[in-house]
Amino acid sequence: MISNEVKQRLISIVGLENYDDSKAGRLVYSYDATPQFQSLPDAVIAPRNTKEVSEIVKICNEHRIPIVPRGSGTNLCAGTCPTEGGLVLIFKHMNNILEIDEENLTVTVQPGVITLDLIKAVEAKGLFYPPDPSSMKISTIGGSINENSGGLRGLKYGVTRDYVMALEVVLANGDIIRTGGKLAKDVAGYDLTRLFVGSEGTLGIITEATLKLIPMPETKKTMLALYQDLEAAARSVSQIIANKIIPTTLEFLDQPTLEVVEAYAQIGLPTDVKAVLLIEQDGPSEVVERDIKKMEEICKKEQAVSVKVAQSEAEADALRTARRSALSALARLKPTTILEDATVPRSEIAKMVKAINEVAEKYNVKICTFGHAGDGNLHPTCPTDARDREEIERVEKAFEEIFAKAIELGGTITGEHGVGIMKAPYLEWKLGREGIAAMKAIKNALDPNNIMNPGKVFAKSTRKRVVITR
């Protein structure tokens, strides 16, 4: 609860028009893109600059009011669902690209900038910002940094973390710090930049970021390999990597996913095959030609029924866009769509695909799989119905077993979506008790009153580890 006195102080900082505690105003910030999580904040606040953020945080710290920083609410781990109430802090005023530095190849932005707007702005200058989460048309750069988002180009170019050079952060006590810089080398103290990337708003509020840019690749080519056997597709992925080719994109889509994506996109995707790989390479044309040709051979050797190269950029773009819609398109099947992003070393991808199918069968649930196969990051997705409690329980058990299997194969419970609340009960499986303790020590040191997105990352209790019988 926010007392009237505190409310008046907050309003005096941001102005009446930037503080909303109406029922409707709060309700529309009670959720993100994660199913089954909804909780009303006490108010929504829209600061106009870093100083205002700092002043807000000081008041919240004094009165122990939770703060949830929120971009566009597209995350998939309930990371921005205000489960403990408090203030949802939005960045609609802090959404400017501050500088594109063509000498140092960096871009400096405020957190509210939409990822795709940033990509377009730097591409207009012949520069390239590779992280491209499927939500990039909607999601903000602040959200991407807090969740350390990946994307389709992660295999070759890495994820958001690999492009964050410097941050401005408001800490829980209201202090404003600056980490890193436009520097290729910098070992002055702990790497706090990396600490804040992927911290899910639990350590501080990012108010500005300087990101690394690279030159635009000269050319790119896109192809689609079709399979009648899921594991053959997965084997192709491992074989491509083993042949020392790192394509930009190496995406996997199974038949049920293909069907719903085609129902939405209507671009003539094959729906009569068991799986496809969407493969892309960029770079100098001779390298691209050579790699594409070699990958085509590998796919055919691994029983691809056909391999088609996109004939135009428009065709390639349609394929990428279709792939990005996969999760939302799966929502066509059933009212609730639960997805995970268990990740394994890429050499284990075929085993993981096989395990997912066995688990689905064991618990009698439908699991559609798509994802960034090239970097071992799969998105097994279960179309279900939140109203059917019995089925939901089976779904949860199935996913628990998938998490366990991923860890057994040397993988992790989440590759790019974050822990949030959804995966918090499983974090200990990955980190161990000591790992959790180390992380909690950091959290307690920076946010002793636990006001920064409380209830996220660390669970109140850990799930009992499932024992795999097979």
Partner: protein, 459 residues
């Protein structure tokens, strides 16, 4: 203000009437946000986004919140342009949800007596009755032709109107006389070989205030090889009713139209207004709870086609049309694009005209802010959206703005007035430009509709 008891009644109706599966189908991915004009123009307020509105409707159903003034406000702020639907990978039928929610709120509304009477007069007493539509339009005609318009404009009487309506008065088309409107064709032959037999949905506003557009449409159909039937029993499509929370009246109109067009043995039913066409096309949804009408509605909706689609189907774009050199841009009609899924045909037709340089404007698929009567009830947001639209128009340097719906046409004319561009920019309905091109290229209809001699003489 609504009382707690009234809100409770409304809440119960939300529970009973809203389609829960459809509400749950929204998985809140937010793919709709960048397509929503009110989300963008409100400075990225989730309350004014499709995802936010669906969440609010669901929260009312779930009992999380009451249907209070704030909820109503966000639903009113929606243009109903449905740009969120084609971009929704989950395929949520947002338009249907919105219509149902608005109907519930509207039917529970306690209007003051004057407003109640006005709504009753307009929705029940005016649009469904073609003779009354003609009378009203006839009065406007008298106003325009008698010299009264000049007097009113000169005396500054218009200053008594809100700025919005004052500007509207300027952009009204020159309307036909009462006599002209009373004598409308019921059947027209094809020019040359008869390739299709079609029915023409003439509409209420289109057959009165925009009669010239209807005449142009029919001439084009004839030139393209269509024999046309225009059943006189047809009536207003009911879109205005449906979108304004008067669903039961919309259903009655739908039934009258289905009856009027049944058994005509036509290939298609042609429309020339995106707003009407889209509503006609969804009669099967409108009447879904009425089993006796299900099949009949479906047969009707399957025949609905926009004029641009049939013209392309009949290769009108290969006729070799010419116009004096000009830059043309096209503003999509939201419902034509998002509901009737027609966006390529108008562009194919425009690009086929020799002398026309077609320049696509940025965000041509974004609503112009007309949205039925939105520009009258939500003038502030409407004008903000229009100003953005006119910026994009100006970027193209087009001298002709083409639209495919009467509301959009008036809004674009309004935009031209507001920007002070009327000296060198015009807005036209696509059929008017096509007919202009056809006539300039030597195509004329031999057996065109002509008013009986004695009427023409006296009018």
């Amino acid at each position: 203000m609504t009382t707690a008891k009234e809100r409770k009644v409304m809440q119960q109706q939300f529970k009973e009437r809203m389609n829960e599966d459809e509400l749950m189908n929204c998985m809140r991915c937010g793919f709709c946000l960048p397509a929503c004009p009110t989300y963008i123009e409100s400075g990225f307020q989730e309350t004014h986004s499709p995802r936010g509105r669906i969440a609010l409707m669901k929260a009312v159903v779930d009992g999380l919140i009451e249907p209070d003034e704030d909820v109503e406000r966000t639903l009113n702020m929606c243009l109903g342009c449905r740009a969120c639907e084609p971009v929704c990978p989950s395929g949520v039928n947002y338009g249907h949800l919105l219509e149902e929610a608005r109907d519930i709120i509207q039917q529970n509304k306690k209007y003051s007596l004057p407003v109640r009477m006005l709504r009753k007069a307009v929705f029940g007493g005016l649009f469904p009755h073609s003779h009354r539509m003609r009378t009203i339009t006839g009065l406007i005609s008298f106003y325009q032709r008698s010299g009264l318009q000049r007097i009113v404009r000169n005396t500054g009487l218009l200053n008594l109107l809100p700025a919005q309506l004052k500007e509207m008065e300027k952009v009204l088309p020159k309307v036909p006389t009462l006599k002209e409107m009373k004598h409308r064709p019921e059947h027209l032959p094809a020019q040359g070989e008869t390739k299709r037999r079609v029915a023409f949905f003439s509409g209420c506003l289109m057959d009165t205030m925009f009669m010239e557009t209807n005449d142009a449409t029919m001439k084009l159909l004839q030139l393209a090889g269509c024999e046309i039937v225009i059943p006189p029993a047809q009536t207003c499509c009911g879109a205005l009713h449906g979108h304004s929370g008067e669903k039961s009246q919309a259903k009655e109109l739908a039934k009258r139209n289905i009856e009027a067009f049944e058994g005509l043995n036509v290939d298609y039913i042609i429309t020339n207004a995106g707003g009407c066409g889209a509503f006609l096309m969804e009669y099967d949804h409108l009447l879904k709870d009425d089993p006796a009408w299900g099949e009949r509605a479906k047969a009707f909706t399957e025949k609905i086609k926009d004029i641009s689609v049939i013209l392309v189907e009949l290769n009108f774009h290969k006729k070799g049309l010419k116009l004096p050199s000009q830059v043309v841009t096209y503003q999509d009609s939201c419902h034509l694009r998002n509901v009737m899924k027609t966006s390529a045909a108008p562009r194919i037709l425009l690009q086929s005209i020799e002398g026309v340089e077609f320049r696509e404007m940025k965000d041509a698929d974004r609503c112009c802010g007309s949205a039925g009567i939105y520009n009258i009830v939500e003038p502030e947001m409407s004008m903000q959206i229009l100003d953005y639209k006119m910026e994009q128009v100006k970027e193209t340097k087009a001298t002709t703005i083409v639209t495919a719906n009467p509301g959009c046409l008036l809004q674009m004319k309004l935009g031209i007035e507001r920007e002070g561009l009327s000296a060198h920019v015009r807005a036209v309905h696509i059929v008017e430009l096509l007919l202009e091109a056809a006539e300039a290229s030597g195509f004329t209809v031999n057996q065109q509709w002509q008013m009986p001699e004695h009427i023409r003489k006296t009018s």
